[in-house]
Point group: C2
């Protein structure tokens, strides 16, 4: 197999399919999504037989229990994929939305139309259900997709790809609107991220190593997030109960997620009162505390090192720093945050306004848990990832993040004088 030529073919087919998708109305796209859901349910046995090959290989290659768990297409996962497809079919179609049409003195009427990005390349790791989820989001937003799953899931992904292709054709759409790479050779990824003529954006979904590698090599825009080093700052004017509730929830609701709090900042004037109560709460969950000098003088905690402020633990570990005020808190955040999500606990109106305006992260919150930073919680109805970039999409990326706006101009033979 000549991988370069294979990728060029894929790219050309995707580009051609993306033009056909511009002609597909909402009904056609929804019909395809519903047809894929039915096919996945009808072919559950086949899918699970293919999945068994991946699971067998995974065991032989020594994948750990957690990885095998993510890889498994259980009845529940299959039902979940079908349900997800039906939910996405139910979402409002962002494509074609026209806004801000206004007349100009020259006589033209100008505004914006929301349009697909074109061709989206998605590179992801072991979970095979991402294949269906990513295909559905791209299709609904009118984009052709090129999907590259992990080698651990290759049989499962190819079986799912067949359901997707059959569903697309049933709805009268080109099967090439969603293409799943048949090779898991790394060289293919190298081409995929460097074909701006065929691919408009790359979305890597996976660990930090994968995302860094993709970002370094990409010759097309990348929607990515590297780290989730999220902060909660308990302000001078915080309500104690709200501070305890949010600081506990943001750390302990789930540990291995990007929107969990990793560093707690506490205003010096409130530390003596609040830290001991928080330490008691965290002890019930066996959260390891690492504190600055002032923190360690108040509660029992390990001494935090400079590295702690820059670490995404994804674990029951929390670093705590006592700061003088909101300015010091925002300085700390500017230095160490990954730009994902930060929350302030305060009853002070003006302090909250400053925090909202001056903290440069994709989600900025007042009196709310960082755990809310999520496409479903925000009402997007779906999420393809969370962007910590500032360009294009920022924060949870739903259907709208997979679209762009072009200008449209209507006239009556109008010419420029």
């Amino acid at each position: 197999m000549n991988i370069e030529q294979y990728m060029i073919d894929l790219g050309q087919q995707a580009r051609a399919a993306s033009r056909q998708l511009l002609r597909a109305d909402t009904n056609m796209k929804n019909s395809a999504l519903l047809a894929i859901a039915e096919l996945i349910e009808a072919q559950a046995e086949t899918l699970q037989a293919e999945n068994a090959k991946d699971l067998q290989a995974g065991k032989e290659n020594g994948l750990d229990a957690a990885m095998l768990d993510r890889l498994a297409l259980t009845d529940g996962v299959i039902a979940g994929m079908a349900e997800g497809l039906r939910q996405i079919a139910g979402l409002q179609d962002p494509v074609g939305e026209i806004s801000d049409m206004s007349f100009r003195p020259s006589g033209i009427q100008v505004g914006k139309m929301r349009v697909p990005l074109g061709v989206v390349g998605i590179i992801y790791e072991s979970r095979p259900n991402v294949t269906v989820d990513a295909a559905a989001l791209c299709l609904k937003s009118g984009n052709a997709a090129i999907l590259r799953g992990g080698s651990e899931a290759k049989f499962s992904n190819q079986a799912l790809a067949k359901c997707i292709a059959a569903g697309l054709e049933k709805a009268g759409l080109p099967a090439t609107a969603v293409q799943v790479l048949e090779t898991t050779d790394r060289e293919a990824v190298g081409h995929l991220i460097a074909m701006p003529e065929y691919v408009d954006v790359i979305i890597p979904r996976g660990g930090k190593g994968l995302i860094e590698r993709i970002s370094q090599g990409a010759r097309v825009p990348v929607i990515k997030h590297l780290d989730g080093i999220c902060h909660v700052y308990i302000d001078v004017d915080a309500n104690e109960q709200k501070a305890l509730d949010v600081a506990f929830n943001a750390k302990t609701h789930r540990y291995g997620v990007c929107n969990a709090m990793e560093t707690l900042l506490v205003a010096e004037s409130r530390a003596q009162e609040i830290l001991p109560k928080l330490a008691e709460l965290y002890a019930t969950k066996e959260v390891e505390l690492r504190g600055c000098e002032k923190t360690c003088a108040i509660i029992d905690a390990k001494a935090a090192t400079e590295d702690d402020w820059a670490t995404e633990y994804l674990a029951p570990i929390l670093s705590i720093r006592v700061v003088t005020d909101v300015d010091a808190a925002m300085d700390h955040i500017a230095q160490f945050s990954s730009g994902h999500t930060e929350s302030i606990i305060t009853e002070n109106f003006s302090t909250s306004r400053r925090f909202l305006a001056e903290v440069d992260s994709s989600s900025v919150m007042v009196n709310a848990s960082t755990r809310f930073a999520d496409g479903f919680e925000y009402g997007l109805g779906a999420e393809i990832g969370i962007s910590t970039d500032k360009f294009h999409a920022r924060g949870p990326v739903g259907l709208e993040g997979l679209t762009s706006q072009k200008y449209i101009v209507l006239g009556d033979g109008t010419i420029r004088k």
Copy 2:
């Protein structure tokens, strides 16, 4: 001078200034813009003395008359810069705009806030007035700017930089909010476009060679447009007079601009009627016509080669192709357009809807001249460039294109269940 260290210093200062700009309200930014306008007017003589050095060097280096003309800070250019600053001060401030705030079942209230991108790097060629224009747009949109002008204008740019710095300080803003490179060494550009930790976006303004070089080497997002190969398609259902008016205006209103028509497409059933009349009009302006075989059978034109369809003439030259219908026209556009601006001339409602939805360019028009694709004509009040990319900003880029939106979440001690 250690250029790498110099650029890192510049970048760190810009990043710090961008944080201070997040704290600057609209009044402070407008005060700075008005102060800069006054300083430029008051120091016209100094500016022209410095400009004379550039003009003298330009003559010695053999710059042609057109380039010297662009370089000159005449009284008119100085008045224009001051006027431009006052206009930008008068525009609505996009920063801080909050939209779509809605309550979710969880109890949080979520929406979006418009925020600056952060630090904008702008690389441009000889016109020194771009220094002021770019600084003003970045400042109003709350971004710190690093500007790198052409070596031909180095004395003029440094003199303007002093006015800008003084105006910023007068308004209580950091002088480092706008930094003009003191070196025109190419190595500096190499660093500027590869410092994602300090620079959020690069905007190259200049010839295609410059833009391609920047795009190839950039490690940060680039807002760019390479070519303006714009099309007008005269449809089967075109009104003859509108077709003649728009096709004539789009080509002959100005030649050296990116939104001029370069290729005319004509539906076969209308070619016999319309082409001779158009040829007569173009003859009055001595526009050279290059046609496909069918065109040459109807009017007197040179035979067009395949290269003609892919060429931005920026000159009184027009390529003409007879096509069967709107589908063939859109196929031609998909193959050869640079994604800038295309217009259809038609009275057919359904054909116009298809053209608007299916043509993948930054501006798509019906019965209007491509010459309208311009930030001022669209009512943006200013324009830093026209983007032919699909990601982030598309089409004319005004203040809004220099901003992004982050999510804001308001709660009442709200936690995720």
